[in-house]
Structure formats: C-alpha cells, structure tokens
Amino acid sequence: MTHAFEIPGYVQGHRFLDDPLYYDSTAKRFKDLAGYDHLGNGLTITTGNPIFETVGGNRGLRLDNTFNGSFRCPIPWMGTMICVIKPQYLSGLTAGRYPLIFGDAVNPLSNGRQYIYYTSTKRGVQLVSAGAQLQTQNYRNDDNCVVVVMAFDQQTRMSYSTVDGVTIATATAPANTTNGNAVSLSTAGVGVRFGNMTAIEGDVTQVTDLYCQYYEQHFFDGNILLSDLAKTKEFIDKLKAQYNIA
C-alpha cells in the first residue's frame, strides 16, 4: 500500500475529513500529514466554517466560496501536487473557480493557482503558474471525482499532469533562459489562499455556477512524475480505489 508520504520529497498534505485524525475543529485546522504541522504548516480556515459533505460515498469539503483559509505554500519554485477533487457544475455557459491561489500579486489571477473550470464541451482541473505562462492540463466531460497529479519542473521547464500515472500530458514554458518565473507557482507570506473560489479577496458569496468537493491534497518538492512514477502510479491507483473512481 503506497501512501503519499512514502513518495520521496513529501512536504505537505491534507485530508479533508471532519475527523480528529485530520482536522482540529477547535482551531479549524487541517493537520499536515507530512509532519511539519508544528512549524505553522497546517491549513487553517480563517473565514467562515468548513462544510463537510458526503457525495457518492466520498466525504470531503465542499468549496463554495463561503469559507476560506490559508496554508504555507510548500512548492513555490517547483514541485508536484496530487489532489482528489470533484468539480460540481451548477449553471451558466462557462465558469472558472480557484480552490487555491498561491501568490500575493495585487491581481489574484497573476498568481499561481489551482483552477477548475466548465465550458459547454469540457471541464477541467489545472495548476497554473504565476502569470499563467505554464499550466497543466486535465480535461474531462463530466463532474466525476478525479485524482489529478500536476507537476512543475524548473529543470525541464515543463509542466506535467496525469490522472492515471500512465498517460502524462506536458506543456513547455515560454523560451526564457534567464529566470524561473514561468515555471513557478510563487507564494506569499500569508500563504496559499484556500477556498476563495472567486479569487476576490474577502468575498464569501456562495458561488452558483461551479464549486467543488475537495478530498485530499499532497505536495512534493520535486517532479515525482519523473523521479518516482511507479510509486506515484501506485498511490494514484490506491486513491482511485478509495474514492471509487473508475
């Protein structure tokens, strides 16, 4: 059985259950499974109250913009993120929402972010670099729960993503040999903004077009899709079985 922490470079992880093993309901704090919680690494809900719900037998958080919080960004320069997420389309022709915003640029959309979106033909989960110069790609045509692995690699200047550990989509950063901005997610002193789905700071209006159920997230300080693909696939398979993902 492969766990996230058995893949080298594990630096942060949260499982979104209302269970004392994973969540301190008094502090509204999700514990860091990588072990750095005592260093201020936990995910704390600072506005509103987290909504836990069970959908399709899977229990997790419902991110609908009514509550938000933050955590320290574990991979500002390069790294990999694994998440279990279920976009939930409600209405409208197109919609995009931001479960995670990694930086503190004045324009929130100039920061690195995790992005979910819906169009009439597809929906997806992406990780977008600061300035949107590079993004991972995961297109779907349903609202089913999905395990997504997304990596940013300064060495290759590429992004990588997969939902099965077999087929890996890639994208290449703009030609720029002098800095790493295009590949970075960036960060901020306040940390990663969590659950501010509209990307409008201070906005807690419930979104009515697209929200998501969020079950787990795990971060690694390198590109595990290149360095530890076999173990990563094992972990993906385990998560897919755990969340009844075909």
Binding site: G57, R72, M78, A130, S184
Partner: protein, 533 residues
C-alpha cells in the same frame, strides 16, 4: 441520538457472538442508548469481527429500500433499517409519526471497514515515515547550509577584500547571491532559473563583499567538513517585500537545491541563517509591533522551509540577528529605535533566535549605514563563531544588554547581562549628542534629554548622575544606549551610534586579521522599565 461512526468501530474487545447479539438486538430495538454507547466503546480493535457481524445482521434483517418504505412499515417510536450506499451499509431510523423519522445510527459497509483497516495500516506506516525522517542521515557527516537574509548589510557590496575562504565551502554555480544571478543584477524580485542552482562550485565573492567569507572562516572544520552558502538578501527591501512571492520563492529554491546538493555529496544538511535587516522598514516608519509581527511570520517561514528542505520536521534552524547601524531613519531616529526594539523581542521569542548584538565595533562607511568592506568580513567571522558555538556547544550567544535600571533622585543604576567595563579604545558614538550623552548612555525624561555625568563601572552595574531630577513618571523614564540619533554623512567611529561599554570577557582576535580584537559591546537598546531604587 447515538451514531456509530467508522472511527467508533476502530477496535473491539467483544467476541463475534457478543457483537452479533448486540447488533441484532440493536436492529430490533431492544437496546437502549446507553447500551449502544457501551457497544461503541467495546467494539474497538476488531474490525474484521465487526464487519462479519454487520454483514450477517444485514443479511438476516429487514432492510427497506427507502426511509419512507421503512417508516410506513413500523409503528411510532419503532426503529427500522434502510439500505445504505458507499461507505454506509445501513441506516437506522426511529419513526416519529407517519411523516417523520429520525436517523439514530449508521453502519459501515465492508469497503468502509476495509478502509478502517487501511487507517490502522496508515497509522503504522505514517509513524514509520516520521521515524525515518528523524533518523535519516544521522550517521552522515554534517554539511552547514548557511543562508544570508536581509538587506544590503548582507547582500554583495563595495569592492572585494576577501573573495575565497576554506576550499570546503561551496556555492551555487550561478553565484552565492540571488542579487547576482543572471536574470537581474539589481532588482532581485524574480525567481531564479534552474541553471543558477544546477550544481555547486567553490565559494568566492563575485559582485561585492558579503559576510559569507567571514562566516566560512569561523565555521569551517570540526562539525562541518562541508559548507554551502546561499545569499537571499536583497538591498533596500522591507520585510513585507522579502516575505512576498518571488523573494520567498528564491529562498525556497536556495534551500531546496543546496540541501539536495549536500545529500547527493553524502552529507546531512544543517540549515542556519544570518539576518541583517531593519533599515528599510525604519524608512517606512514600521512600528515596533508591526515589525515584530512581520519578523515572526517571515523568520518562522524561513525555519519551516529549512526543515522541509532538510526533510527534518523536528529541526528548527538557528537564526542569528544583528542590529542595524543606521540611526537616522526619521522621527529623530525613533523609527530605527523601534526596529531595534522589535529585533530584541524577536531574538527573545523566536525559537533558536540568537541575538549577536550591535555591529558598531566594526568599521562603518561614512553613510553611517553600511560597514566597510573589511567590516563585512569581520562581522561574518563573529557570525560564524556564534553559529559554531551553537552547533559545537549548544550555546545561544546572548549579546551584552541592560537587564535592569533603577532611579533615585538624580542617581541611576543600570545592570547589565554580564560584568562590564569602560573601554575608550574604540570610542564609538563619542561625538554624538556629546552635551547630554555619556559613554553612549542617554537619559530621556518624558521625551526630554537630561545630561549624564560621573559614570561609575562596578561589576555588572554602571551608576550615573543626572543633571536634574526627572519630573515625569517612572513610566516616562527611558535609558538608552548606543542608539544616538544621527543625520547625514560623517566620518569616524565617534560619529557612529555606539557606546564605550563592553563585557569584561577577554576578546578574541579576528581570523582574517589577528591584530583586530573583537569584544562584546553593549547592544543598541532602549530600556523603558525603569523602577525606583
């Protein structure tokens, strides 16, 4: 309402038959709430048995497809079971009336109990993971990963007087400092390219002098057969900027790559920081409390990233602090004094924060802000020596500072943290506020200076006479040392904020210049908790 949850079923001391009987009784409404609670408590440690019983019970019980069908089939206050889904095998309801029923329990499915077994395996594996992090690399030789933080007192500056240090010291191939990487020589607010950090080379100063060589001079050898140095300092930047996006991203990149290089070379990395910061925030009139809060956030983040880069959750990197020389940053120097008070609090409150004190004993440029080139090296040696003490002896160097002040009439007594003596050989600050200050001491009575004279040094205490009896309240009395206000450019150590007060400890010769003796001079300080004698 009693609700059996997955976690309540984690373990059990019951036999299969007991659980079987209890469950069937529960399912047929023969068990009271207290008994259900007892069942919850006793089910611990027997997931397999519990699951077998649950499966058996469900097979032999009447399960309704929906809550409505079940409610219609029973009388008021009777319970009924409904087929569940996913992790839930069945739901237990109590009928209130023909239109209402209340959920009183849910029972996990086989998959869920399987997940419970996974949870136990998870716990074991997670503990194994944490143990592995604790013990990883402990038998390997240690490599110091020294990261410089702050502003231009750490960033490369002026001409280079010592470029290389011990050959065991390495730096990123792109240069030790983010301010000298190829993408941006002066405005280091972008993040580094992989090529800057791809490999390491022998340490050398490239674009200006930094304390790096001095630190290496003092730190090399014994515990650390290898030293990696990275410099994340950026001139003229506030803590708000340094803790923001790309500067922090660069810091993270330095930590990650230098620790990786260390591990690849067969060493166990040990991260340590030296920060020289404060002038920029004095320039923006940041309050003491605000700077303290910023520092807690920024330096706490540095320690967390260090632990992550080392993959040692239990490691708290030491951070050596010094105080800025600058003492003219607006409001008659009060903005700088506020920053210095905040630094003192940070060194006291931040775990593994180390107060190395003022730096006025080393030569300063005429701008009364920046040390001279040679002073960068000398200061670095003191920092390296402080870090060496920390790692060799577990000692947190505490700079000389005032611990108590009493006043009686015109006589005050200042007690220091160590025995002190008057040393006129340096003469720092002697030309500043000379009519009112004495040996670097200044007395402020409700905002008005009172002249000091007749200082007497006796052991840990310095007694002085004020020209007049203070008229303000005790809370309005302040004794300052080494924070005289300055304005503009001036030459000579007498024009640098400082004092003649130093520890009686024997000094130590500089490594790079044996003719220069280092002492522990009184830290810049504003003492406000004056009490009556």
């Amino acid at each position: 309402m009693t609700n059996l949850t997955l976690r309540s079923l984690k373990s059990s001391a019951l036999t299969s038959a007991e659980i079987d009987a209890n469950f069937i009784a529960l399912n047929t409404n023969k068990v009271e709430t207290s008994e259900i609670s007892a069942l919850q408590a006793s089910i611990l440690n027997s997931q397999l048995q519990a699951q077998a019983v649950i499966d058996n019970a469900l097979i032999h019980s009447s399960l309704y497809a929906t809550e409505a069908l079940g409610r219609a089939a029973v009388a008021d206050n009777a319970t009924f079971s409904v087929q569940g889904s996913g992790d839930i095998a069945a739901l237990e309801y109590r009928r209130t009336n023909s239109t209402t029923s209340v959920l009183i329990a849910s029972y996990p499915s086989a998959a869920a109990v399987s997940d419970l077994r996974l949870t136990d395996e998870f716990g074991t594996a997670h503990q194994r993971y944490l143990d592995g992090l604790r013990t990883a690399g402990i038998t390997k030789p240690k490599a110091a990963v020294v990261i410089l933080l702050g502003q231009s007192l750490n960033a490369p500056r002026l001409t280079i007087v010592q470029s290389k240090a011990a050959p065991i010291a390495k730096m990123p191939i792109g240069g030790t400092s983010i301010a000298s990487w190829q993408y941006n020589a002066t405005n280091a607010l972008w993040c580094g390219h992989w090529s800057e950090l791809d490999s390491v080379v022998d340490y050398e100063e490239r674009t200006g002098q930094t304390p790096g060589t001095g630190i290496i001079n003092a730190l090399a050898g014994r515990k650390f057969p290898r030293i990696y140095v990275g410099n994340a300092a950026i001139g003229g930047r506030t803590l708000e900027t340094l803790k923001s996006g790309l500067p922090v991203t660069n810091l993270w990149a330095l930590l990650k790559r230098l620790c990786e290089h260390s591990r690849v070379a067969g060493y166990d990395p040990q991260v340590m920081f030296y920060t020289a910061h404060g002038e920029a925030n004095a320039g923006t009139a940041t309050s003491e409390d605000a700077y303290y809060a910023l520092g807690q956030e920024y330096y706490g983040m540095c320690q967390m990233y260090a632990a992550q880069a080392m993959r040692k959750p239990g490691y708290l990197a030491p951070i050596v602090f010094t105080y800025p020389v600058q003492q003219g940053g607006g409001a008659s120097g009060e903005n700088d004094r506020a920053i210095k008070r905040a630094i003192l609090r940070l060194t006291c409150d931040l775990p593994n924060g180390i107060n190395m004190g003022g730096i006025y004993q080393w030569p300063v440029s005429t701008d009364r802000v920046h040390p001279t080139e040679q002073a960068y090296v000398l200061r670095g040696e003191a920092v390296g020596r402080t870090l060496k003490r920390f790692f060799d002896n577990g000692a947190k160097w505490a700079s000389l500072h005032i611990t108590d002040v009493t006043i009686s009439g015109t006589t005050f007594v200042a007690t220091f943290s160590d025995p002190v003596q008057r040393d006129v050989t340096l003469g720092a600050g002697e030309a500043l506020n000379s009519a009112l200050a004495e040996d670097g001491f200044e007395w402020i009575d409700n905002g008005v200076s009172i002249a000091i004279s007749g200082l007497l040094y006796q052991g840990w205490k310095v007694t002085g006479a004020l020209a007049s009896t203070p008229v303000g309240t005790l809370a309005q009395q302040t004794l300052r040392i080494a924070v005289q206000t300055t304005s503009g450019f001036a030459t000579g150590v007498g024009n640098i904020p400082g004092s003649l007060v130093r520890s009686t400890d024997t000094g130590w010769p500089a490594i790079s210049d044996y003719t220069y003796t280092n002492y522990s001079y009184a830290s810049p300080q504003t003492f406000t908790s004056v009490r009556t004698a």
